[in-house]
């Protein structure tokens, strides 16, 4: 089975974020970009499938500024992916979901993948567009919010569930398909030290920025005008106490007299 797993470099969750000097975007100076969130689970899922279906290969694909994307791809290689493709983002151009799908379609076109796996949404922007946008772009069935993805060799189909507002759907779908994964249940593995060192020396295939730019088409008509951090939260009230009983007493007083949520 040929699996493509798409990973996005996102700011480390502990980073201190701030707007860029022109106020239009995130200032990425000094921010570390990592493999995280649903993408991390998608890589784990790809590796689990690879381990359960002999002869499978997993290729990781990342789109972004070269240095950033390379670090994330190296992390996937250390975890056990077999190959990696780096799509260099055209410098100075913000990509929206549809454009990202066009760029990633380039990597999908390079080889026949039975399964294209990605997180149901990225760890930073969380638009959730990509799984279906990519599926539409490359003309394959696409599913998002997918849980419990397995390969059934008997029926030659993928079996999975989808979590929806109304309940859970169960699906059986033959390859090829695009899957946006929703879960953190698979407890992503940690790379072994030896594999980290080995992965540093593996080659990474590159699709240069010019080729990516050509695939994108004309510049988008919409653009972000301002980047704002959420306002600092105020109104928190610290309870200072000696004994827990005192804390409880103060809390009840606040809930009753100030917040008026208790009679």
């Amino acid at each position: 089975m040929e699996i493509l797993v798409l990973v996005k470099p996102v700011p480390e969750s502990e980073s201190r974020l701030r707007p860029s000097p022109d106020g239009r975007q995130l200032d990425t100076e000094g921010v570390k970009f990592v493999l995280a969130g649903y993408d991390e689970s998608a890589v784990e899922q790809a590796l689990l499938l690879k381990e359960s279906v002999p002869g499978s290969k997993v290729r990781a694909v990342a789109l972004g500024p070269a240095a950033r994307a390379e670090e994330v791809l190296r992390a996937t290689l250390a975890l056990g992916c077999d190959a990696a493709t780096l799509l260099e983002a055209p410098p100075g151009r913000e990509l929206d979901g549809a454009e990202t799908a066009r760029a990633l379609a380039l990597a999908a076109a390079k080889g026949p993948a039975d399964l294209i796996l990605l997180g149901k949404q990225s760890g930073d922007q969380e638009t959730g567009i990509l799984p279906t946008a990519l599926a539409a772009r490359i003309g394959r069935p696409g599913f998002s919010n997918v849980l419990d993805l397995r390969w059934d060799p008997g029926s030659n189909r993928f079996r999975f569930a989808r979590a929806t507002e109304a309940g859970e759907e169960r699906w059986e779908v033959p390859a090829p398909l695009v899957v946006g994964l929703q879960q953190a249940w698979n407890d992503p593995r940690t790379a072994k030290l030896q594999n980290i060192l080995r992965s540093r020396k593996l080659p990474i295939d590159r699709i240069p920025a010019a080729e990516v730019a050509a695939a994108l088409g004309p510049a988008p008509r919409e653009s972000a005008t301002k980047f704002l951090l959420p306002p600092p939260r105020t109104g928190a009230k610290m309870i200072e106490y000696g004994r827990p009983e005192e804390a409880a007493e103060q809390l009840v007083r606040i809930l009753r007299d100030t917040a008026r949520v208790l009679p």
């Binding site: 670090e71 940690t190 060192l197």
Partner: protein, 392 residues
């Protein structure tokens, strides 16, 4: 949680991308696997074997063993970087994790190629612990005066005596042991062996109750007429003292890194607390007296890290760094004592409570002044090396 500085703007101390990737992996393991269990293991004196096993799986256990024998084969610089990260999570667990490095180093330094291959390769293939048996009840610092006797008998030795304070001994599958063929010869009689645990006559004692590093296990080991074949001797008769000293030359520097990791955890806790705890209408971190403490703590840790990394760099470059590694170990461990002490002070009464993390850090820091050559011995070494430079 403040990020540890990764480099210092000096090329010789800056980390490569490869090193950053290793550091990050160790950091993740320390903070997500070790730290959450540290308080409980400390309180109950638990030996978290599952964590050690996981550490082994990730390659964090036999850091110094070359990869051709199945170890991780890291430079000393990289070992230090990883040990500092691990100690940030729990000093005691780190002591148990790196005890294999200490126990296997004599085989790397004193063993023949055949011995290294036949012992280390199967040893590293599965999760196993090894112990380094040098210290005796009668004395640790004066290693030349050890009393465990090895009596030659045909093509083997019969070893009898007692070792104490041996890390991981109750769990070890392999021991490196330092003996004397004749106590009157002192240093010149010291002879080293490796011996598997299942050899008849090896009796580890019960786990000691310790002040700190309580997730680690420490006990005596009695050798009751243990028959060890000549083929398990490391080097010649009388080479043992040099093997022991060269081993400690390699493992002393990582103890500096271990102390730095403990200290960094204390600083991070104290700095965060100082911004949150208020007195006299403002965060205590805005009182200058607290700021002076934090400034000194950060400076001590920075200096510890520089000394440690510098000694490691020298050793990796094949230079003799007895002076620098003794400086690094003694300075960093003294610094960790001061930093953890001040962290308790910044936490006030809460700092003295077991419910808060900093008193454990102080108890853990204490050991780093004592083991792998006490700081008094380090300073004797520093002075000796120093004065050599003045003699003509």
């Amino acid at each position: 949680m403040a990020a540890l500085p990764a480099g210092f703007g000096m090329p010789e101390f800056d980390l490569t991308e490869d090193q950053r990737a290793l550091q990050e992996m160790a950091r993740k393991f320390a903070r997500s696997v070790m730290a959450p269990r540290a308080a409980e293991c400390d309180r109950k004196g638990l030996f978290p074997e599952d964590i050690y096993r996981k550490g082994w799986e990730l390659g964090l256990m036999n850091l110094n063993v070359p990869s051709e024998y199945g170890g991780s084969g890291l430079s000393l610089f990289d070992q230090c970087m990883i040990v500092e990260e691990l100690a940030y999570g729990c000093g005691g667990m780190t002591t148990s994790i790196i005890a294999n490095c200490l126990a296997l180093e004599p085989i790397l330094l004193g063993g023949t190629e055949d011995q290294r291959r036949s012992v280390l390769t199967p040893f590293c293939r599965e999760y196993q612990m090894a112990s380094f048996c040098l210290t005796e009840p009668g004395g640790g610092s004066d290693a030349g005066g050890l009393q465990t006797l090895a009596r030659k008998d045909g093509d083997s030795y019969v070893v009898s005596g007692e070792k104490c304070f041996i890390t991981n001994a109750p769990h070890a599958k392999l021991f490196t042991v330092f003996t004397t063929v004749d106590p009157a010869l002192r240093h010149k009689g010291i002879t080293a062996f490796y011996v598997p645990r299942d050899t008849e006559g090896i009796v580890p004692g019960k786990d000691e109750e310790k002040m700190g590093h309580r997730a680690s296990s420490t006990s005596t080991v009695r050798f009751e007429n243990v028959r060890i074949p000549v083929s398990q001797r490391l080097g010649a008769e009388g080479d043992g003292f040099s093997v022991a000293m060269r081993t400690l030359d390699m493992t002393r520097t990582p103890i500096g890194a271990l102390a730095t990791g403990i200290g960094q955890a204390a600083l991070d806790h104290a700095a965060a607390y100082s911004l949150q705890r208020r007195s006299f209408g403002k965060p205590i971190g805005e009182h200058q007296a607290i700021q002076m403490k934090l400034a000194r703590m950060a400076t001590l840790l920075h200096a510890s890290r520089l000394l440690t990394r510098h000694a490691a760099r020298l050793i990796d470059g094949g230079q003799n760094a007895t002076l620098e590694s003794s400086m690094a170990k003694s300075f960093a461990s003294d610094a960790a004592m001061e930093v953890t002490d001040e962290a308790i002070q910044i936490f006030g009464g809460y700092g003295y409570m077991k419910e808060y993390p900093v008193e454990k850090l102080h108890r853990d820091a204490k050991l780093t002044q004592i083991y792998e050559g006490s700081n008094e011995i380090q300073r004797i070494v520093i002075a000796r090396e120093l004065l050599k430079k003045y003699q003509h």
